[in-house]
């Protein structure tokens, strides 16, 4: 069959840079010396019953921009252009089976145009000129412009090649002999087959099949491994834990001696319990669905609720940042679409924890991508996917710490609007199992077990099939279609739906059919290409698919809507097994070509995993004290001012505008408080949205995290994260009495008693603080085993690099330096780099009238700026902190507040500077202010409030037992001044903006 290659090249005049940052800059930064120019050419390979004239026409009509690009067509055997004089050409081709959205769209369009095209592939060609060495070019392009686990770099040209043809699959059912395996053999099987099952779990499986008198099939074993994975059942958080070690704070500020405590189910007795108790006491927002569905739901107005879910996609993003983050955001959006009978996504959030972007290039451990490459990739991934979905990305954070080098964290959140009467769902016996959206391929196999494993330098090879590229268009199509089927005249056309997440069909159908049973015929599942085994079809995580339960009477209408929106929809089975075996409890029956290849009791599948009891132990090992500069080092505020520009430029503080602007944060038109606000584009504390364009009711969305406090005490790390998330939503006008929160735990290996001890302390803090503040948790997720196994040779360079970061003079450097001995000791003893225990708290708060919202930019010369709260970052009294949050919210509601900003993170002086930058207003500091409120000291429950009526505000705060202090006055000058020392607002802005 003829194959043609079409090259589309930007015309030299006018030259068009298509990439950001430009390819030339990226390659030069990566150390490719002597590079003068790069021309990026897009390649299309078109294969089918077509001739050269057809392809010339395709190139002209569809592929080439007639004003900005030139194109050339080559057939098999044609001479391809040589790079020629002093230039080097490199091509980057996708590996077989990797998602190629452009090729898919091009193929579909060409077929509609009437061409008999069989296949389309795309690739990129870089023509580099300068004094270059071939080998250097291939290595550098391979490192920064391509990713070996999904792409192949070819020097020169790969020519005109036909698409690869996967072999036909010959059906052959396989059984795994388990019965006679000893413990060592069981563990070997678990490891070699990437099952990641523990010995106790393998024994349970062995017993189950021994009672049945048969061996399991490969599909049954895989199903159990996926369903019982940490990713799917959260077995660590649900296990019984015996804790001993440092006493847990009791709220009275007194330190007790060691204590022991036992939890029968850690999650149930802390986080879930807090929510249950708050709901029973009618405290907090109206909770419509908590912990049971893909997302938590609270009441929004009389007709709607708001769903919120935050997920992590850490391991895939470590290996392929762009694809990992894109499929992360795609996945969590599907969680919200699949919440209840379907929520309409209205906003996304993203939080990244990464190592510093200036990490020395020559100090990277084997198997680790450079942190700058990771950050750039994840930002592009979230941006490209979220923008294409038409969902604004409105809130987020970036947190830098060297210990995220091997395990960067990528949190993606999604909010959705859901009608109150569509919050509950249940598939019924007799409903069709319909799979909609993308086709199934071999990509994304072992997603759930992979995400539950520890990373090492071989993972990029072993798990490259778990890494995927998303296709937002497919997801956008079924989003449009599902909302129509949900809102169909006469009622919803389906009884349930869920996302095919990690674990693919196995987990989606397994979950939906838990109480009904399910019968699936795998040969009906639409495939991307032939050659997939039945068990691969069953567990592949291939993206952009959902499973829907459709009653037979609604099937024609449902399929019509899907077809009208160009969504593939296929019936692959039925819910309910009673018909095939009456009287037997619900079972999962999986067939291929009519033959049963798997049959499991739903009860065993979902509840058969053995709950272990684990030992947890935690004692402080580092000196006490939070982050920030010690007050002793400063004699006065004027002196502190000299340090201000440096603190504003600190990566953890500096502007994230380059990320924010990369995202469409205004699509859907609901934006009220944007991520950058005021005439000086300063940082807002939280996003506010108006999800219904015909109403002025809003939601505030914020987040908090304080991983560095884990070095002091994970209890206070968790408390600080909740406090920050609440502060952020309160700052913009959110109601602390109607705020819900979500937890995302990212931890190291919890088979380590100390790590588990840290988890216990954090969970207990979640209970204590949620209760004290009145904030129910409505949804959560955890990602454990975030450790990177180091090569012997990489240990010393890593330790040296950590020391360099520990010697930096800013607040982050001082913190790391203080805790480095303990970190170094653990690193040497375990030869694994563990992330600091990290809890992300996301907050969702109701706003009655968005016109009362507040931003941090200073408004009016003469106004007084009050410092409110100022509690210690650790060992603070929770009830007092709760009073501060409520008092600030009350002041905002009373209309006394012109501007408000969270002042706890980098110290209040940094926050004040941000307010001045945002408002382009000067500030006069009260010089006589004593230094007990350390200007760079980290605190909790601290706000800076610009008030328009000083007396009234002071009275309100004092009535609430909160003593505010006036620390500054908004001025007419363009400086931030204290006594005789002043700094220009423009200079502060330049430092913060990084100009």
């Amino acid at each position: 069959m003829p194959v043609f290659r079409i090259e589309v090249t930007p015309l030299r005049e006018p030259g068009i840079p298509a990439d950001s940052p430009p390819t030339l800059q990226v390659l030069s930064e990566a150390g490719l010396a002597g590079l003068n120019q790069v021309v990026v050419t897009r390649l299309f390979f078109v294969e089918g019953a077509i001739n050269r004239e057809d392809v010339e026409a395709i190139s002209e009509k569809l592929l080439r921009d007639p004003v900005a690009e030139s194109a050339s067509v080559h057939g098999v055997g044609d001479d391809l252009p040589e790079a020629g004089g002093g230039s080097v050409a490199v091509e980057v081709h996708l590996r077989p089976g990797v998602m190629d959205p452009v090729a898919e769209s091009t193929l579909a369009e060409l077929r509609q145009e009437g061409y008999a095209v069989e296949a389309v592939r795309t690739a990129r060609r870089y023509l580099l000129s300068g004094r270059l060495r071939d080998d250097q070019v291939v290595v550098t392009v391979g490192r920064v412009l391509a990713n070996d686990c999904i792409e192949e770099v070819v020097l020169g040209t790969a020519g005109v090649r036909p698409a690869p043809r996967p072999p036909e699959y010959a059906f052959r059912p396989r059984q795994i002999a388990l019965q006679h395996l000893d413990d060592a053999a069981l563990e070997r099987l678990s490891r070699d087959a990437h099952l990641f099952l523990s010995l106790a779990e393998l024994h349970a499986i062995q017993r189950y099949f021994s009672d049945l008198g048969r061996e399991p099939t490969d599909l049954e074993l895989e199903t159990l491994a996926q369903t019982w994975s940490e990713h799917c059942v959260h077995k660590t958080l649900k296990s019984a834990v015996a804790y001993r070690g440092a006493a847990l704070p009791r709220g009275d500020g007194r330190a007790a001696a060691d204590e022991t405590r036992r939890y029968d189910n850690l999650l149930q007795e802390t986080i879930v319990r807090a929510t249950a108790e708050l709901m029973a006491a009618n405290t907090g927002p109206e909770c419509l669905s908590v912990f049971q569905d893909n997302a938590g739901v609270i009441g929004f107005d009389e007709q709607f609720g708001i769903a919120f879910k935050v997920e992590t996609h850490n391991h895939p993003s470590a290996i392929e940042p762009y694809g990992g983050a894109a499929t992360g955001i795609g996945g969590v959006i599907r969680d919200v679409i699949g919440c209840g009978l379907g929520a309409k996504p209205i906003a996304s959030t993203d939080v990244f924890c990464v190592a510093p972007s200036d990490w020395p290039q020559d100090r990277l451990p084997k198997g680790v991508l450079h942190p700058w490459r990771v950050l750039r990739g994840v930002v592009d991934g979230v941006g490209d996917y979220g923008n294409r979905m038409g969902i604004p990305t409105v809130n987020g954070a970036v947190y830098f710490d060297p210990r995220y080098l091997g395990n960067p964290l990528v949190f993606c959140g999604s909010l959705g609007l859901i009608p109150r009467d569509k919050v509950q769902k249940a598939a019924r016996c007799g409903d069709h199992i319909v799979v909609i959206g993308g086709r199934t391929g071999r990509d994304g196999i072992h997603g759930a077990t992979f995400s539950s494993a520890e990373l090492s330098d071989t993972h990029a090879d072993e798990f490259s099939h778990a890494v995927q590229i998303g296709n937002a268009l497919t997801e956008k199509r079924f989003l449009d279609a599902i909302l129509q089927a949900r809102d169909a005249e006469g009622g919803v056309l389906y009884t349930g739906l869920t996302d095919c997440g990690a674990g693919g069909l196995s987990s989606a159908i397994g979950e939906m059919g838990e109480h009904t049973g399910a019968l699936v015929d795998l040969e009906r599942v639409p495939l991307k290409y032939r050659g997939l085994r039945y068990d691969e079809i069953w567990i592949s995580e291939a993206q952009e698919r959902m499973v829907v339960a459709v009653p037979p009477e609604n099937l024609p209408r449902f399929l019509n809507i899907m077809a009208a929106e160009e969504v593939d929809a296929t019936v692959i089975g039925t819910f309910g097994t009673a018909a095939t075996s009456p009287g037997v409890p619900p079972r999962l029956v999986v067939r291929y070509a009519g033959q049963v290849v798997g049959e499991l009791d739903m009860q065993f599948l979902h509840h058969g995993w053995p709950r272990g009891e684990r030992v947890a132990e935690w004692r402080p090992e580092s000196p006490r004290g939070g982050g920030g500069v010690k007050c002793a080092a400063l004699t006065s505020l004027p002196q502190a001012l000299r340090r201000l520009e440096g603190e504003l430029a600190r990566p953890n503080v500096a502007s994230k505008a380059w990320i924010i602007r990369r995202y469409d944060h205004e699509v859907q038109g609901g934006s009220v408080i944007k991520p950058l606000v005021g005439p000086g584009s300063g940082p807002s504390d939280a996003a506010v949205l108006r999800p219904r364009l015909d109403s002025s009711r809003g939601v505030a969305v914020g987040c908090g995290l304080a991983p560095h406090l884990s070095d002091v005490d994970p209890y206070w790390m968790a408390a600080a994260a909740i406090d920050e998330a609440l502060r952020n939503v309160v700052c913009v006008g959110g109601d602390p009495r109607r705020t819900a929160i979500l937890d995302n735990f990212c931890w190291g290996r919890t088979d380590d008693a100390r790590q588990l001890g840290a988890l216990v302390r954090a969970c207990q803090a979640c209970y204590d603080v949620a209760k004290a503040y009145g904030l129910p948790f409505i949804s959560g997720k955890d990602s454990l085993n975030n450790e990177f196994a180091l090569d012997e040779a990489d240990l010393e360079p890593l330790v040296e690099t950590l020391r360099i970061y520990g010697q930096r003079g800013d607040a982050d450097g001082e913190h790391l330096g203080r805790h480095l001995p303990a970190i170094e000791g653990r690193l040497r003893a375990r030869r694994r780099l563990a992330i600091p225990p990290t809890l992300l708290i996301s907050a969702l708060s109701l706003v009655d009238d968005v016109r009362q919202c507040v931003t941090p930019d200073l408004k009016q010369p003469g106004h007084c700026v009050l410092l409110v709260g100022v509690l210690r970052p650790t060992d603070f009294a929770l009830e007092r902190a709760a009073d501060v949050h409520r008092a600030v919210a009350e002041a905002i509601r009373a209309g006394l507040v012109a501007a408000c900003h969270d002042a706890a993170d980098g110290g209040w002086l940094v926050a004040l500077a941000e307010m001045a930058i945002a408002g382009k207003r000067g500030v006069m500091l009260q010089a006589e202010e004593p230094c007990d409120a350390d200007p760079y000291g980290e605190t909790c429950a601290t706000y800076l409030v610009e008030v328009n009526d000083h007396q009234a505000a002071a009275r309100l705060f004092e009535r609430r037992g909160v003593q505010p202090r006036c620390v500054a006055t908004v001025s007419n000058q363009d400086t931030l001044r204290c006594d005789t020392v002043s700094v220009g607002i423009a200079a502060l802005g330049a430092a913060w903006h990084g100009r």
């Binding site: 769209s105 369009e109 268009l473 160009e566 602007r661 859907q668 038109g669 016109r851 408002g919």
Partner: protein, 261 residues
């Protein structure tokens, strides 16, 4: 005068259709969202509408190039109907992706014929990359029926391919001479403070062009999003600036509705 009816034409990947519908409704029109497949099945339904809007988004993923596949489908199935629609005195508005589609379809800035190839494109930003920020726009002439001559509007942009580029200086000059550069990136109104920062021209468009109209003035395409600034709280500085009764973008929809009154 009968009610003004708006057809919002969407395709897979269109995503600003609901807020565009809301803006038209605020302006007093009735707006319906119609998938291109339905319109291809019944092109004569175009007759029922006064205005066609192609909203923003990433139609067909913007795969190959922004708006390319959507434009190819219009050219294949609907081009004659659209030309008749315009010649019948109706209006066409393309916002962001819709602007890219109209240019690629050959309806902006000039109608294509066999001996008149495309002279204009909307392509990758310079500096490169997607950007969401606010800008100032000035209606540069009186040709376009959607715009109040000389008025300065504030609106957000959100695009990676918004740079208007002509094949030659002569082509550019011809369009400017004819007053087809309907909207240009500009300074704030009346020397007011610049709330949105530099540069004023965010994407390197030639002659600072943000929007083009055709020779009739009844077809307008623009990169900024008027539908995202219909109420005051959508402005990035609404908490610090003197309030306005409504967003600047709404004026554009109102004027179009008024055209039929």
């Amino acid at each position: 005068m009968a009610h003004v009816r708006i057809l919002i034409l969407r395709a897979a990947g269109t995503n600003c259709d609901l807020e565009a519908q809301h803006a038209w409704q605020l302006a007093g029109a009735t707006a319906e969202r119609v998938h291109i497949r339905r319109l291809i099945e019944k092109p004569h339904t175009l007759d029922e509408y006064q205005v066609l809007t192609i909203p923003g988004g990433f139609s067909y993923g913007d795969d190959i190039a922004a708006g390319r596949i959507f434009a190819a489908q219009i050219r294949r199935h609907l081009l004659d109907d659209l030309r008749k629609f315009i010649d019948g005195g109706r209006l066409v508005l393309g916002i962001c992706n819709g602007f890219q589609v109209l240019v690629q379809t050959g309806l902006l800035p000039c109608r294509l014929t066999d001996d008149r190839p495309r002279t204009c494109t909307v392509t990758y930003n310079d500096p490169p990359g997607f950007q969401d920020r606010w800008i100032y726009l000035r209606a540069s002439g009186d040709r376009c029926v959607f715009l109040e001559p000389g008025r300065v509007y504030e609106m957000p942009i959100a695009h990676g391919e918004g740079r208007v580029l002509f094949a030659s200086a002569a082509d550019l000059n011809a369009a400017v001479y004819a007053g087809q550069n309907a909207l240009v990136y500009s300074e704030p109104r009346n020397g007011g403070p610049n709330l949105h920062g530099e540069p004023l021209n965010p994407n390197g468009s030639q002659a600072d062009i943000a929007g083009l109209c055709d020779e009739t003035g009844r077809v307008l395409g623009l990169m900024p999003h008027p539908e995202r600034f219909v109420t005051w709280t959508q402005h990035p500085c609404w908490t610090s600036q003197p309030p306005r009764a409504e967003g600047d973008g709404l004026a554009l929809f109102r004027r179009a509705v008024g055209y039929f009154k």
